[in-house]
Amino acid sequence: MANANAATLLDVEHVHQRYRNASGEEGSLVLDDISIKLIEGEIVGLLGRSGCGKSSLLRIVSGLNRPSEGNVTFLGTPVTGAVDGVAMVFQSFALFPWMSVLANVELGLKVQGVPDDEARRRALSAIDLIGLDGFESAYPKELSGGMRQRVGFARALVVNPKILLMDEPFSALDVLTAESLRTDLLDLWTEGRMPIKSILMVTHNIEEAVLMCDRIILLSSNPGRVAAEIRVTLAHPRNRLDPEFRQLVNEIYARMTARPVQREPPAKDGAFPGLGLGMALASVSTNSLAGLMETLATKPFDGHAGLPNLAEETGMEVDELFPIAETLQLLRFAEMGDGQIHLSEAGQRFVNAEVDVRKKLFGDHLLSYVPLATRIRRVLDERPTHRAPLNRFLSELEDYMSDDYADTTLDAVTNWGRYGEIFAYDEAAQIFSLEDPT
């Protein structure tokens, strides 16, 4: 649909975004030099994993947040705050619970001072378009998730925006509902029944991106950078079973599992060279780790699987599967690459072992391969009391990453360390120690 001489609606130029902590100081990068153009008539997907800053980018585009550096222009005008002509659909629907469906949809018109009867007429036609007839007087809490998101769409469309921004609009819905909403939206889009000229959507679902988008912008994580741009030229309606479709999905999986050349933030690493404390870790439970290893070890995989197949088999989304797979890779229980995952020899041993042996093996790998775990253990060993407060490590981590990530990272290592019995932790006192609880 996009053609070369169509107008540029939105221009994102060299946008950088940095973390801001509570006291307003700026920290490390979330978004690193992002440049994107949005052309009339296309659906563009921002695809990336959690932590790649894709939602931050969407909020910068919509004018809700300001970038630390760089510019966003909409139809040639710089975006400095929320603008008319850009509407947003939220992952959490973001409906006002005390307003009826009609009032929710009318809101955007009312605040503009559109006369009552005109607002009513336009709202009803948007409700009609999106398939919400008969629910006008219902309140959001009476509706199912799918119906709520339809209200979200109607509310965004009623103000006649040029661009529709969607922040993971289907990820809070169950599989079937999400599919029906996607299909309906695509139908309206291809039939040209919506006023919008272009859609920019954020997603972590690879199939969804391939199904809907004309262009997929792949973002890498920590900090978010444009890793690749993939054009999808398949005609709508697209068929998920089409070999070309599958090929594209596999290709994106492969790109997303490719080891990034430089993962750790290079700048501040000088203090502890080679320790890699700055590695942000995902909070993954040891049960999930063991579960994935067991699944991999058994048939039909026998220790080796393509990630798309594994995702299908386990019924997990990329966002759930990748952190587990990556943690296994970090702990050397598995190897990943080219869209494939392979159980290592240590992984095999883990699967075949008894509980105590598993814990020992896990603890050993944790100490060898996770710098933060090594550090906590070493501090505890060195101190005569063999005790150290949580905050000691938290503040150390906060030199490298935002408070949120520091929390999550330390939380993850604490749980792994407790499972591997390399240290103990007292939640109430927030103290690490080497004692076994008696």
């Binding site: 947003m88 619970p97 939640e427």
Partner: protein, 576 residues
């Protein structure tokens, strides 16, 4: 009845310099009011006291007057809440000072302020009934406003992020956003706190309608004055009639005003599922079904809507369109700190000057000793009330059939202004020659124990069934059952109740430690009696000293005792 978090408790546990500053400011304002109005008040002729008589037939009229005062105070509290809380939520610099002040005002026994405010308003409108009316309304206001403002402020700070983003992306102006998002979001918490405030308000209306400060005494037509007159004349029948009227008024208030509001407020709860047991109200149902009433109200609703959607641009406090450069912002901050420091220093100096003009260290030590006595009394009685009501509350709460009937009664009893019952007790103490230091103590928890009861009932009713079944399955019985199953399960609820009860008890101490029955005066040792006696004598420095001392103790007790317990309960004993 659901558990609500106690405003301000979730915040940091230790007193900071800000609290100290806030405390000094609050006391200094009191001193300012008193010394400012003293000059005006001295030549004040006695306000023409409207005659209150003990004829039963006057009671409906008095009840009406009293209720109107409550309404006026509630309206004032709402306006105060909107302005004060919005200011705190929108401006970081205002927040630094205003929130600690609110925190202190909230934990301070407000009844002690009564004398200051009465003097002030009588000074404003010398010799007019209006002054006395204002004083009474203001007294009720001081008992209602703080927790409402706190609740509203906390709601403003916790507006869901996605709804905030929607409002911003649709470019709602500050005014529109306030009425479309912030105010509706705050409604459930605000309504709950209004009800709590109302309960406290009845207590104050009784205390503030007939009051003597030094040689100034006011009597306003109302149930409180009626009661005071009945006590002066030792007329038990009239006291009884007043109590009965109070019962009827509170019941009507609850049914006609609060039930509908609570039922209506349910719509503003941000939750994903429709709950099956939404509160209902027959009054609201009548309103909704009556076409006639609807037609009457439609134009009103329409114009309100116009106002709410007006594209008014409220000045965005502290959020200038262009953020000033960092250095400038830091400069403004330091200027602001300096200003506060100077103001607090000046205030502290004024207080010392005022109090030390007539009082010495000896008096301060005396006040401190008396406050300790009252504190022991409050703690012991809360403990005693807990021993009695926790088992009973659990027993009731585990039996839904009974709880359904008992719960509203307990809530009603908590709203009942217990000071109207004092005369009976005092008559008993005088008659049997009992020791006031012991027997007056019970009056302190007379009205506040119900908070413990109904919160414990709520906790036991909400106790998860699966945990009950586990306990039964493992044959956990007797003391083990209490220690490991039920007490941890209800603790957060019990805590809410005990904290509310403790706050109310400090207030009650001011009226409960010094009680009259005709010419008989019964006094217990304690800071409450100290304040009450000083009030009667019009000895302002002593009142300032007493109230300040009490405030310090209450604040420290809250910070070091209650908040730590609360933090522990939050961390360890939450069931959801």
């Amino acid at each position: 009845m659901q558990m609500e978090t106690i405003p301000g408790l979730a915040r940091r546990a230790l007193p900071s310099y800000w609290d100290l500053a806030a405390f000094i400011i609050v006391v200094a304002v009191l001193v300012g009011i008193v010394s400012g109005s003293n000059g005006v008040a001295v030549p004040l002729p006695r306000p023409e006291a409207p005659i209150v008589d003990l004829d039963y037939w006057n009671l409906p009229y008095y009840a009406l007057r009293t209720t109107l005062r409550m309404f006026a105070a509630l309206a004032a509290s709402l306006v105060f809440t909107f302005v004060y809380a919005s200011l705190c939520a929108k401006s970081r610099r205002a927040e630094m000072v205003l929130i600690p002040i609110l925190d202190i005002l909230q934990s301070v026994p407000i009844l002690g302020f009564l004398s200051f405010t009465v003097t002030f308003f009588l000074g404003l409108f010398p010799g007019r009934v209006l002054g006395a009316e204002c004083a009474a309304v203001f007294a009720i206001f001081t008992s209602q406003a703080w927790n409402m403002a706190f609740s509203f402020y906390q709601s403003l700070r916790t507006v869901p992020k996605d709804l905030d983003e929607v409002s911003r992306s649709f470019q709602l102006t500050g005014w529109q956003k306030f009425w479309q998002l912030e105010a509706p979001f705050a409604v459930p918490g605000l309504v709950y706190n209004m009800m709590i405030s109302m309960s406290g308000g009845w207590f104050f209306v009784v205390a503030s309608e007939a009051i003597t400060v030094g040689d100034v005494s006011i009597k306003l037509p109302g149930i409180g004055s009626y009661l005071a007159l009945a006590i002066d004349g030792k007329r038990l029948d009239a006291v009884f009639a007043a109590i009965l009227t109070m019962l009827v008024v509170i019941l009507a208030y609850d049914q006609i005003l609060f039930r509908p509001i609570v039922a209506w407020a349910a719509k503003f709860r941000v939750e994903l599922t429709a709950s099956s047991n939404d509160p209902t109200s027959w009054v609201l149902t009548v309103f909704k079904r009556s076409k006639w009433l609807q037609a009457l109200l439609t134009p009103l609703g329409w114009s309100l809507k116009k106002i709410r959607f007006a594209r008014l641009r409220l000045p965005a406090f502290g959020k200038m369109a262009l953020t000033p450069p960092r250095l400038v912002a830091i400069g403004i901050d330091w200027g602001w700190y300096l200003l506060i420091t100077v103001a607090v220093g000046f205030a502290g100096w004024k207080i010392t000057e005022y109090v030390s003009a007539t009082l010495g260290w000896h008096d301060a030590l005396e006040a401190m000793g008396l406050t300790l006595v009252t504190m022991v009394r409050v703690i012991v009685l809360i403990a005693l009330a807990s021993l009695v009501w926790v088992p009973i509350g659990v027993w009731i709460g585990l039996r839904p059939g009974i709880a359904e009937y008992v719960q509203p009664i307990a809530q009603f009893l908590a709203a009942f202004p217990v000071n109207v019952l004092f005369p009976f007790v005092v008559a008993g103490i005088v008659f049997f020659h009992l020791d006031p230091d012991i027997w007056l103590s019970f009056l302190i928890v007379f009205g506040t124990q119900w908070y413990i009861l109904f919160n414990v009932i709520a906790g036991a009713s909400a106790f998860p069934n699966d945990l009950k079944e586990v306990a039964a399955n493992f044959h956990v019985r007797g003391w083990l059952w209490w220690k490991h199953v039920m007490l941890p399960g209800i603790f957060p609820y019990y805590f809410t109740g005990a904290l509310t009860a403790s706050g109310g008890s400090w207030n009650a101490a001011i009226v409960a430690e010094y009680v009259k029955w005709g010419d008989d005066k019964v006094t217990a040792h304690g800071i409450g009696a100290f304040i009450a006696r000083a009030t009667e004598a019009g000895d302002f420095p002593r009142i300032v000293l007493g109230v300040a001392m009490m405030s310090i103790f209450v604040t420290l007790l809250n910070r070091f005792g209650w908040r730590r317990l609360f933090a522990m309960a939050e961390r360890r004993l939450r069931l959801d």
